[in-house]
């Protein structure tokens, strides 16, 4: 699916990013922090924004693209309004996280790494969220859902629909 970057709608965010870049330009190794900020602001790293970062930080676009694609937290496509992160860490896996994921995919009709066409939901498989005591665990934005069973999934998703 193609997602078009809307400069006008993002004017405010672009300005904020430019200020952030200015403030951090002098710091050694600033690129990671700038990419984190951009990901926060736009929800992903549009190529247009990468190009801008390249100009502002004077780092070749190829290098920025290289870094952006190396780390799994940076995304090149927009995430849903509700970002679902399902933990596939060891503790969650042995407590049945795979079945939870299958159910989630079935309910939303998308695969891991995808976003629903209405941009409402996206699914990511994450590594340990550090809440193994509650395994299996998933997060929807900042909300943590623990001790999940397959039967809980529809109800939880419906809360966000």
């Amino acid at each position: 699916m193609e997602f078009v970057f809307d400069w006008e709608a993002n004017e405010e965010n672009i300005r904020e990013l430019k200020i952030f870049i200015k403030e951090n330009k002098g710091k050694k190794g600033a690129l990671m922090a700038v990419l984190h900020k951009a990901q926060d602001l736009f929800g992903y790293l549009p190529i247009e924004v990468q190009r801008m970062i390249s100009e502002e930080l004077r780092i070749p676009l190829s290098e920025i693209y290289g870094v952006a694609t190396f780390y799994s937290q940076f995304s090149l496509i927009p995430k849903g309004k509700y970002k679902i992160g399902i933990c596939l860490g060891t503790a969650c896996y042995v407590k049945g996280a795979q079945e939870i994921l299958e159910k989630l995919k079935e309910v939303l009709g998308i695969d891991v790494g995808q976003t629903t066409p209405d941009k409402k939901f996206s699914i990511d498989a994450t590594r340990c969220l550090g809440a193994c005591g509650l395994a299996p665990v998933m997060m929807i934005n900042d909300d943590v859902y623990g001790r999940l069973t397959v039967d809980d999934i529809e109800e939880i998703i419906n809360k966000y629909k």
Partner: protein, 618 residues
């Protein structure tokens, strides 16, 4: 600027407000709520607010409420303790709070039905310190977790916080600090167990215009949350230790590299760093000396390999996090080519205690070769999932059965996995192995950073090996061929085996690939990637063979190898036959039904609908 007198004043003053919690006073009540990773996620914040509200309503002036770090028993969260008695309530819901406030806080009557199960024995109520889960634990790294308010630097100071830093900068030379650390033989808790003192000495010896201290808070082992709990429950212990390290090696700048998946820990660290700066415990001229030290946070972005020291440094430098060839030690040439000390969160958390109590005290705990304690995150098929800190040298059996409470649902223990993707699975016959660096290594596993996942009879060991290989393939940075390609081939073979398509030659191929990857890889990720396969093939070869020769999964876990089967218990209700999506169940009313396994698509519907549980997987 902070002087030692001021530090002591804060300590005395704050200690007074903590007496109830430390059981030094018995008038009044103190409610301690667990704000650890598990409980935080299940509503601890709201529970605190409701407690405060009800207490205000009742006009209970001598009751104080505090959110503290992880209590350890995540399984039963949200947890609440009431002092001075040390009464432990578990699985607390907002609705329960009224009852606790009315009975316990107002009338002093304990609400028995909300007590933690393990705190009642023979009709008597035990204080939390006597509960089996806590009895065998010894707390050094977690000494303040669950006791202090993590967002209040004064409470850290009250329990001797920043005294070690004061002692070091005011009374000791860097050489003396290093000697003490070498003497204590604190071995790295991030996995490899390298002695911290020796590492510090190397960095001390190389003169440079700039040196760095890094705290590795990347905590990559999927299924482990020790470091997260320390950072969230006692962030200052790590800051203080980094400053001590800075003083010892001659560095004035520290970095904490923390994974972005831990937003709560990031927030609490930001608060802690700000407070330490405000009090002059970080920054210029610490305790009025010419020692300067400051700390910056750097966020990871979801790459496991960045937990490896040199990859982490590349990442802080703003590049792709790929490991460097090990020509120089990082203590000589690390971050931006300067002498750099990198230690794990838990390693650092031990340091202030060692400085204050001395090397002999530290060595009196644990074993000769591995002094001190280790924190483990217990997870998987175990009753008391949670966080434990044990003295080195106690056995796996003690951890899993005495502290962890054994396996739930009457299942049989099968293996325990330590060391995550770099470690291995240890079977039943080795449960009496003492936990120390050498003993776990001998079994083909490693101590690792502290993830301990317990597996029971329903877990297929081939599938567990596949799970870890899947992880490694995903996380390999791709720099060297044996790791990048070798792990892929191994994963393909394991996938074939769990799908019932494995051949006897595959088993040999796995073994030879394991050898090549272990020997030919550049960094620890590749060098240890085969461990989960090697150890499961060593201890559970029969399971591999059953998959390959009999196309059978003894644990009944591999979907492709399962068969649904209707037992004698069938009452002939026809429900399964009516619900089977491919109509492959036959049978007459009131007679036993039969599944045509050739047509069955293993959807599991029949098992779900059968009213008498006559359908089984085998």
């Amino acid at each position: 600027m902070m002087t030692i007198q001021e530090l002591n004043e804060i300590k005395e003053r704050t200690l007074k407000t903590m007496e109830l919690r430390l059981q030094k006073k018995d008038t009044g009540k103190h409610v301690l709520i667990c704000g650890g990773p598990g409980c935080h996620s299940s509503n601890a914040g709201e529970i605190k607010e409701v407690f405060e509200e009800k207490i205000r309503e009742k006009g209970l002036d001598d009751v104080k409420v505090t959110l503290a770090g992880c209590f350890g028993l995540c399984e039963t969260g949200p947890n609440v303790e009431i002092y001075p008695e040390g009464i432990f309530y578990s699985r607390i819901k907002v609705e329960d709070i009224d009852k606790i406030v009315d009975s316990h806080l107002c009338k002093g009557e304990i609400v028995e039905e909300l007590l933690y199960e393990g705190s009642i024995e023979d009709g008597n109520i035990k204080p939390v310190s006597e509960v089996d889960f806590y009895k065998k634990q010894v707390k050094i790294a977690l000494r303040n977790c669950g006791i202090i308010d993590y967002e209040n630097i004064d409470e850290y100071i009250a329990l001797d916080g920043y005294q070690a830093l004061a002692k070091v900068v005011l009374e000791m030379t860097p050489q003396e600090v290093i000697e003490l650390m070498k003497e204590a033989n604190l071995r790295g808790r991030g996995g490899a167990g390298f002695p911290a003192g020796r590492k510090w000495e190397t960095a001390f010896k190389y003169p440079a215009d700039q040196k760095y201290v890094i705290c590795n808070a990347d905590e990559g082992d999927p299924g482990a949350f020790m470091d997260r709990s320390i950072l969230e429950g006692d962030p200052h212990s790590v800051l203080e230790a980094m400053a001590i390290c800075g003083y010892a090696i001659g560095a004035d700048q520290g970095f904490i590299y923390i994974r972005a998946e831990y937003p709560v820990a990031v927030h609490r660290l930001e608060v802690a760093i700000r407070q330490a700066r405000e009090k002059g415990l970080l920054g210029k001229n610490i305790f009025g000396t010419d020692f300067n030290f400051d700390i910056e946070l750097r966020l990871g972005a979801g790459a496991f390999v960045c937990g490896e020291g040199t990859a982490l440094m590349e990442s802080i430098e703003g590049k792709r996090g790929m490991p460097r060839p090990k020509i120089h030690r990082t203590a000589h040439r690390g971050l931006w080519g300067k002498p750099t000390i990198i230690n794990n969160v838990e390693t650092f958390a031990n340091v202030p205690a060692i400085i204050l109590k001395g090397a002999d005290w530290f060595k009196s705990i644990g074993t000769e070769d591995s002094p001190g304690t280790k924190v483990f995150a217990l997870g998987g098929k175990i009753k008391n999932t949670g966080l434990v800190e044990i003295p080195m040298g106690i056995t796996l059996r003690e951890i899993i059965f005495d502290i962890g409470g054994g396996i739930p649902n009457g299942k049989e223990f099968k293996a325990v996995q330590t060391g995550g993707p770099s470690g291995g699975c240890i079977p039943k016959e080795h449960l009496d192995t003492p936990v120390d660096f050498a003993s776990l290594g001998k079994l083909g596993s490693i101590m690792g950073s502290g993830g301990m996942i317990v597996l029971d009879e329903d877990d297929c060991m081939v599938d567990i090996a596949r799970f870890f290989l899947d992880f490694t393939v995903d996380e390999s940075c791709g720099k060297c061929v044996p790791c990048r390609e070798g792990t892929k081939r191994m994963l393909e073979i394991l996938e074939r085996i769990v799908n019932g398509e494995g051949t006897p030659e595959d088993l040999d191929r796995l073994e030879s690939l394991a050898e090549t990857i272990t020997e030919g890889s550049l960094c620890g990720l590749g060098q240890t990637a085969a461990n989960p396969v090697i150890s499961t093939m060593k201890y559970f070869r029969d399971e591999y063979e059953a998959h390959v020769y009999e196309k059978r999964c003894p644990a009944g876990s591999c979907q492709a190898l399962l068969e649904f089967f209707i037992t004698e218990d069938c009452i002939g209700c026809t429900k399964c036959a009516r619900n089977c999506p491919v109509s492959c169940i036959e049978g007459k009313v009131k007679e036993r039904h039969v599944i045509d396994t050739g047509k069955c698509i293993k959807c599991g519907t029949c098992m779900e609908v059968c009213p008498v549980g006559a359908v089984i997987k085998r």
